[in-house]
């Protein structure tokens, strides 16, 4: 109890009366919580998208939410338990790496709802949100091949993990659907988590790909992508952003961005609140979970023919008429070798 009291006083000092109320009122009033992955909140990509969703919810409802940026693996379970014990509900976590910790924790807090993004955890109080990144990547792959004059397009991934290969595989399939003779070059930034935040290496890889003839580059690399887009703009080739709409970073130089609406997943979870329906939730082209970005910044780069072709493919994928191979189904890619 002593601990509880100390937290009470500290909480009131730090977070004001609202947080104090949440503790005293216990389950009656629940504040949602968002846990970011090790990449950090402001990565201009995945985590930032999650943060934007939470922020949008806070602005629209006037509510407040708790958040934490993790520093270590051991903190995953720790943060989950601490938030659950403090009465936060629902608790949303951005990143597949939480799956194991959540699998351990979820059963201990049956009255708390959890949402995990990018991974499936089978528990009665968990909503699992996964995205069909291969579908979105397919569309931007088509656009890349259409925009390419050299017939060579390229891909730069962050850390070499299956999820990123899924992006690359969808992209290669899209490019080859437009131009069967297209050459697709794929490189990964690294094999450690630091590959998510290495813009210098991203820049070097871009230059190497340009020297091999690439004139459109797709970066699915978190913070590393900033360097890729910058170099592509400097060297006057086109680039494609990822997760958030990154077209604004270099207006007129970024062909499009492959959108992954993590923000929508977080926003929906927060809006549903404690009454959230749990279960398996696939966000694909059919329900607006992935897509490509069009705005004033890239309007001049995408002509009507390109857009019509991509939209037609999108409609076919959404209806199930066209199936894009998912790398993670069988750990192989028909259009690309790694």
């Amino acid at each position: 109890m002593k601990l509880g009291e100390t937290f009470m006083t500290l909480m009131q000092k730090f977070l004001g009366a609202a947080a104090g109320m949440a503790l005293t009122a216990g389950a009656a009033y629940a504040e949602p919580a968002l846990i970011f992955d090790l990449g950090g909140k402001f990565d201009k990509s995945f985590n930032e998208s999650a943060f934007n969703g939470a922020q949008r919810w806070a602005e629209e409802t006037g509510g407040s939410f708790r958040e934490i940026e993790l520093q270590s693996e051991a903190q995953r379970e720790q943060a989950l338990r601490r938030f659950a014990e403090a009465g936060a509900n629902p608790i949303v976590m951005a990143g597949f790496a939480f799956a194991d910790a959540l699998g351990q924790v979820a059963a201990d807090y049956p009255d708390t709802k959890f949402t995990i993004i990018d991974m499936v955890v089978d528990a009665p109080n968990v909503r699992s949100v996964v995205f069909n990144e291969h579908e979105g990547s397919y569309l931007v792959g088509m656009m890349a091949a259409q925009a390419s004059a050299s017939g060579t397009v390229s891909f730069i991934g962050g850390m070499d993990i299956p999820l990123i290969r899924k992006f690359a595989c969808g992209y290669a399939q899209g490019a080859k659907a437009v131009n069967p003779d297209a050459t697709v070059i794929a490189n990964m930034t690294g094999t450690t988590p630091s590959a998510w935040n290495d813009p210098v290496k991203g820049s070097e890889l871009t230059k190497a790909q340009i020297s091999q003839g690439s004139d459109v580059v797709f970066a699915a690399a978190g913070g590393t992508g900033v360097g890729v887009l910058q170099t592509a703009a400097d060297e006057s080739i086109l680039s494609i952003g990822v997760d958030s709409n990154q077209n604004y970073l270099h207006p007129g130089k970024v062909l499009t961005s492959m959108l992954k609406r993590v923000d929508n997943a977080v926003y929906t979870a927060f809006t549903d609140g404690v009454d959230m329906e749990t279960g398996f939730n696939v966000m694909g082209l059919a329900n607006g979970g992935v897509g490509y970005a069009m705005d004033d910044n890239n309007a001049s780069l995408v002509n009507a023919d390109m857009q019509a072709a991509v939209d037609a493919a999108a409609a076919k994928i959404a209806s199930g008429e066209l199936a894009v191979h998912n790398y993670m189904d069988d750990d192989s890619c028909p259009a690309l070798t790694f």
Binding site: L3, E69, L70, A97, D100, T192
Partner: protein, 364 residues
Amino acid sequence: MDVMPKWAEVVLVPLISLLLAAILSALVILAIGEDPVAAVKLMVDGALGSTYGWGYTLYYATNFMFTGLAVSIAFHARLFNIGGEGQAMLGGLGVALACLYIPWPHWSLALLGAMVLAGAFGAIWAAIPAYLQAKRGSHIVITTIMFNFIAAALLNYVLVNLLRPKGSMDPATARFPEAVNLPTLHDILAPIGISFSKAAPANVSLIVAVLACFLLWVLIWRTQLGYEIRAYGHSDSAAKYAGISPLKITMIAMIISGGLAGMMAINNVMGEAERLVLNSTEGAGFIGIAVALMGRSHPLGVFIAAILFGFLYQGGAELALWTTIPRELIVVIQALVILFTGALDNMVRMPLERLFIALNGKKA
């Protein structure tokens, strides 16, 4: 010969360093508009105010004890092993292989088996740079740090392509079987009537780490081998003249060092995560350098410094959970302590030495 009395050397220097770091940290917290007193209180309460907090503090401390000892033994032979990180990663691989592919009947046997494999993997990873140093003169600082990258890449390959369960996205192994789960402090202390937090990850590896501290002290100061290692560290030419083989000492010191760093994996991989994840070491190999520096390469000093760093880690986590202090500034606070206790040691030591010389001069 010593300009300072022992108590000043052991207690006063680290204490003043810590105080300086604390003052600077307080300024940092003030500068972003938070209350430093409340922050310190939150850190102390969160890390030491409950068995839950202690559980995490001791869990981190166990990691740092292993890596701190690993750096210390190498220091005694004047070898700078920066490769603790990679050696601990490979140790994790050893633990994972031992736990996944051998059907252990009981956790105690599994712990022994995992220790052997973890130690062997870490030792092999340290032995290659040691051999290159002894035979080819390739500088051990460069080679060990390079080996961290090779270890990371190797682990990545093994996890992604070989050990990852089918259909799993996380580059990690499957969960270890129930039988090899190590008892936590909760399980150990419950039979003797002490209730300890169930959620905390501190486990039986802590006892192994403390035992390792003691055994290393015996090795360094009470055996012939320890004497040879220290002699070689103080003067390699004198040691050679006395018939001590540089090749042998370099190899043995680094193998013990790598073995200790590798054994860290019984705590973080076997005790906490119960599976091998990609970045399971989380910089503990590098923190070990700071721990060894602060503990003056003495096992007791390493023990105390490891607990201090455990406190900083767990206290920092509490700050992140309950305040708006950003993660980066928490790292700054942790880094300030490392900077002052490790790197800027002489800044405190030299004025203190002068002070003691002046005082002694008056007496004489």
